[in-house]
Amino acid sequence: MMDELTAAERQALDALPRESDPGQLLEERTVRALREQGLLATARVSGTRDVSAAHVAPQSRPWWRSAAAIAAGIALFAGGMSIGQVLGSRQTAEAFQTVFEDGDVQLASQVQRTGSEYVASLVALTAANGATADSGQAVEVALTALWAAANEIVRLAPDDPLAARILQGFQARAQVMNRYEASNQLLVEF
């Protein structure tokens, strides 16, 4: 008595999606967990797929890459990434409050460190914006710190929209880098 599906039922089942994107944050969370368990090597520059690829890039970067990094920094600023807004984010503030109410010294310390990383990153980015193309590495370091800090926020407040926006900014930056890498991989013969 197998009671086969009707054609309409079969069609409806076939129409259901077989794939669904869980979002970038899950990827970052998974990579972090794998690193913590020693299953992935800790990259010098970690984060999105393309940011991590940056550590294999040659030391002498073309001027425009630094410019792109600086532009990404400006875009992040323009996107509303200021310290006041970070602390003003409702969800982040609630997470901070919970941490302190729970009296968890270790977490509180981590929050403090996260804040310091943000400040350091912003200062470094500001400095890099006014510098020459040679400051590309400084920008990379600042962005790495910023990425790490944003991840800390996401860990504390997974639904925080601002932290998610920062990570999206990194993704956009990575796509710019990716296009450059792809154009380098394309071999053209005349």
Binding site: D3, L16, L39, L40, L186
Partner: protein, 179 residues
């Protein structure tokens, strides 16, 4: 002018990079290829709980990465990964009391719908008892045979068939015209 295409790296090559040197870039490539399907599958088996599905996907990748060295590549990587996700999902369902013994589950009905309540197919699947829902997903959506389902779930083929029948019956009740 002729452009030379870049040949995509196989799952095996990427997996070996991850297993041998913890290559993060290779991992992210593998993750990007297989997670959308894994996530959708796990999400359905768990009845639509997104947070739980994300936890299971993460745990699946951790288990898979830790055991890459023991994978023989006799099956497709995706199939192996889905198998891990299925086991982890069932463990969660079992621990939370949502997975009854399959032969008991078939006898239990589904919550009756209200007179005017109509639901879509995805919702109907999510409302099925967890065990027969899993069989329906594996058979009617993922295309596994009863012999394969029986092996995956540790039941007989007969149980798999009766659970599928039960799942389809429940699903029709849920989707049928309001009483």
């Amino acid at each position: 002018m002729r452009a030379q295409a870049v040949v995509p790296t196989t799952d095996r090559v990427l997996a070996e990079r991850v297993a041998n040197s913890g290559d993060e870039t290779a991992f992210r490539e593998l993750y990007g290829r297989h997670t959308p399907r894994l996530y959708q599958f796990v999400l359905r088996v768990l009845g639509g709980d997104e947070a739980e599905a994300e936890d299971v996907v993460q745990e699946t990748w951790i288990r898979a990465t830790a055991n890459l060295g023991s994978f023989r590549w006799e099956a497709r990587f995706e199939t192996w990964l889905t198998g891990i996700g299925l086991n982890l999902s069932r463990n969660r369902l079992r621990r939370s009391g949502r997975l009854e013994a399959l032969h008991d589950e078939g006898r239990r009905g589904v919550e009756p719908r209200g007179r005017d309540e109509r639901i879509d197919l995805e919702r109907a699947i999510a409302l099925l008892p967890a065990g027969c829902r899993t069989v329906l997903i594996l058979h009617d959506l993922e295309g596994f045979k009863h012999s394969e389902i029986a092996e995956k779930l540790g039941v007989t083929e007969g149980t798999s068939k009766s659970q599928l029948w039960s799942a389809r019956r429940h699903m029709r009740q849920l989707l049928g015209p309001a009483a």
